[in-house]
């Protein structure tokens, strides 16, 4: 199981073995939504907060 730190509050994030790039997570400590930028190595950043929208 991988581990990384929340870039906002520094809390340790426990990550599953099936982690994929592009996955969205929530920091259990501060509640910030995070984006997994890569898995080797594990890099997470704060996810963008954009209004939801879609096409046809």
């Amino acid at each position: 199981m991988s581990a990384a730190e929340c870039p906002i509050c520094g809390a340790e994030l426990t990550l599953g073995d099936d982690l994929v790039a592009g996955e969205l997570l929530e920091c259990a400590d501060c509640g910030t939504e995070l984006e997994v930028e890569s898995t080797e190595p594990v890099v997470v950043s704060e996810a963008p907060t954009e209004q939801e929208d879609w096409g046809e």
């Binding site: 994929v20 592009g22 996955e23 969205l24 997570l25 984006e35 996810a47 963008p48 954009e50 939801e52 929208d53 879609w54 096409g55 046809e56």
Partner: protein, 267 residues
């Protein structure tokens, strides 16, 4: 002024709709038409070896994943094949139609969605290569110029992004934007169901009237593509459209039936 959205599902009777439109126009009505092409898009995509991949947003709205290859097919199907065929059919029936995509004349403009949050295989994911967006501006001058010159605009997605690219936009919400921008009295959304149904598998459970102030209670009955139709309806009403009518596109005189409130009326 009425704005009519023709759904892109199977079983839509385009000839009946346009025949009815001709009667309305001959009676002095002015109209703008927007159409979808979802069913045709699915067929053509599969024939080209690029079957549709549907994605579901984090709040449950389904749409087509529109990568770079898909937007090319989208342009060909919506603005090319289907729009051209509908405009030709309109002319055969005596309607002086002009076919436009949202790109033409910058008719429908807005930002491309740079990051889309979806749920896939139980995981929340972010997608960054989707060519979808939302409409923030309607070129009303272009529509009024055409209408005043005696043309009936027949409009299709895509829209034009702020960066000058074609983008996939939801047709029902595009219809709402156009209706609001024109100050239309009515927006009629024709699809392959009679309207909003309590039970989507039972057409006898039609909900015939929805008060916009109580929309939240009825949105729970909207599933699949109907979710976006109800969102489009709410947006239209909030932006000043008098009423929105969901009605059946599979019957004769569908516009007349809709104007008589035979469907789901939202106001």
């Amino acid at each position: 002024m009425i704005v009519i959205k023709i759904g892109g599902g199977a079983e839509i009777d385009h000839e009946a709709i346009l025949r009815d439109l001709k009667r309305q126009l001959d009676g002095g009505e002015r109209a703008v038409v927007i159409h979808g092409a979802n069913h045709e898009m699915k067929i053509i995509s599969e024939q080209l070896g690029k079957p549709p991949r549907m994605i579901t947003s984090v709040s449950g709205y389904e749409s087509r994943y529109t990568d770079a290859e898909t937007i090319e097919i989208f342009n060909m199907v919506y603005a090319g094949k289907v729009n051209t065929m509908l405009v030709a059919l309109a002319h055969r029936l005596g309607i002086n139609a002009v076919g436009l995509s949202g790109v033409d004349g910058g008719l429908l403009r807005g930002p491309r969605k740079k990051a889309l949050k979806v749920v896939e295989n139980g995981k929340r994911m972010i997608i960054r290569d989707d060519h979808s967006g939302r409409i923030e501006d309607v070129n009303v001058d272009l529509l009024r110029t055409l209408l005043d010159a005696g043309y009936t605009p027949l409009i299709s997605p895509p829209a034009l992004s702020d960066e000058g690219e074609p983008i996939n936009v939801d047709g029902d919400r595009a219809a709402a934007c156009i209706a609001a921008a024109l100050g239309a009295d009515r927006l009629i959304i024709l699809s392959n169901v009679p309207g909003l149904l309590r039970d989507k598998d039972d057409e006898s459970t039609l909900i015939d009237r929805v008060d916009r102030r109580r929309m939240d209670e009825f949105e729970t009955f909207a599933e699949g593509r109907m979710k976006k139709k109800t969102m489009g309806a709410a947006e239209a009403i909030d932006q000043g459209v008098g009423e929105v009518i969901f009605a059946d596109a599979r019957i004769d005189d569908p516009i007349e039936h809709a104007l008589r409130h035979e469907g789901t009326v939202i106001s």
